[in-house]
Amino acid sequence: MFERILIANRGEIALRVIRTAREMGIECVAVYSDVDRSALHTRMADVAVPLHGTLPSETYLDIDAILDAARATRAEAIHPGYGFLAENAEFARRVEAAEIAWIGPPPAAIEAMGDKITSRRIMKEAGVPVVPGLTDPVLDVPAALAASEEIGYPIALKAAAGGGGKGIRIVPEPDAMESAFRTAAGEAQSAFGDGRLYVERYLERPRHIEVQVMFDNHGNSVHLFERECSIQRRHQKLIEECPSPIVDDELRERMGEVALRAGRAVDYRGAGTVEFLWSKGEFFFLEMNTRLQVEHPVTEMVTGRDLVRDQLRVAAGEPLGYAQEDVTMSGSAIEVRINAEDPALGFLPSTGTIKNLRWPGGPWVRIDSGLFRGLVVGLAYDPMLAKVIVWGVDRATAIARMVRALEELHVGGVRTGAPAALAVLEDTRFREGDFDTQLLESMDLTAPRPDDEAVAAIAAAFHRQHLARRRALAGSHGDRRPWLDRARRSLTAYPTPDRGQREGGA
């Protein structure tokens, strides 16, 4: 096993890796930007190396600076965390070229999965189901009809240059194709200057379900079940859970098998996640994330396996040491991401200094966080501040526990998405497991909540009165000066004759 590793990341994930490494007796090297000199990951590591600058490009994304830090501290391996350089094949190659172990998949696997078109082609060849559709644009209505016949209705017409929902038309049946094609092409032409369209199967009420996989260097591989990640907005996940309320044992086994097949097709190694879109009992490959995921703790909670420990062991060349039948699932786990954002204002980012912090506690509540009082939440880095993870014997217990934990949590100084998560956790559709990726965006999070409104009103009035009283007592700056000076003089401990005598006598 390694004696010393470098963690090329910051925030909660750097701390997450440090924690497991310390438990394994491995020394940790942290790297930090100027603003992160007092960050928790900097303080909790054994060695910390400054990366001068604040922008990600001059710090956590600077490959040369990070490799220099690894060489200078004789780190034997580099863990990239998630984000920053985690899915950068060039970085992985440079790390290996520097004869430092790369705690991640082979660079070629990162590349293959990093490109949407390449990965789709490889997956098709490997027999992994992808969303039925053509890879080339269709030119006219007859071509679209012919293609749709093969793909199956309902069809989504998508702008080749598309994005942001513009130029998308849902075609439920062949009769509707002609007018849909015309309007979609027109919209695409005016929005993007490119009227070409793709045809793809339209997935009704899709859910985002992903499978955790782990591969070693000795041909062993296991999947660690699924994670349900459908509670998201603008593709940003808010709540994740394991198991998914709609996945049964048979589907779980099938999805796990397909996920392993996807990994094998790119000679995968280490921890990875295969994302699927699920719709009406069918599931289709979306993409593979070639790194540890933000939401990995829910898998750890139900399987009892430390995924970072497995990552380190695999990177050190050890065999996995356990087989598929050894991976078992117990109970239900939920994670809520605490982001600096304002759900009442369409999740606009929120910045500030963390003034006030109260963490939840109690049984089966886990906090993965880089938060501390005094932390300045700016715009330079990811708005995710913390993750609250709970475990329960079943889903209902886990939901009740998460509600309780979020009611205990208070992060002051910025607004967070926690109230939105509470609203979801209390929504009947969520509780019954009947939801899709649109649930969060369809909820009205600005609706006033009457509970405890009276308490809030009274609290605010008292707060104002106390502020006014404090201001009145503080007096003006002019009044305060002589009083403060007197206080300072009386508290200054330079030896005056009488003070010296008093201290000597004590």
């Binding site: 606009l348 910045t351 509970d451 009035a461």
Partner: protein, 166 residues
Amino acid sequence: MKYYVSVNGREHTVDITEVAGVPVVELDGERAEVSYHEVDRLGQVAMVVDGKTFAVSIEGGADAVDVSVAGRSYHVELEDDRERAAHAAERAGGAKTGVVKSVMPGIVVRILVAEGDTVEEGQPLLILEAMKMQNEIAAPANATVRSIHVTENSAVSGGEKLVTLE
């Protein structure tokens, strides 16, 4: 002292008077037994209202605060009699137009309107990028763009003037 309190947009009145050092509270005209104790100077408060206890957190200044009760956040705005009269006069003067300010620090990516343009309520005025996300800043009401205070690619701080509408 009587306060007009708006909690997430809903109006209440809170009247706090002191009788022999003990606060007497009326909420919307009804007496409430309240104990308010600051746990620290950071905003954590232990409150008892009519026998029920609450762990409350408060942040903000005299006229607007964020109050958290059991994980839910309430945005509260307060006015006393004098402020209420002043604000009423202001509102009568011209509703919802005026200066559009940045609600957060960020970078102006694109400006979508020009001075003299007429805009409709909800029409995007400019795109502000913050935390790697692009956010459209929309017109709060039908109006005419009088002046634009920022340029594309300029950095703005929270509360900075973006556009003046009239």
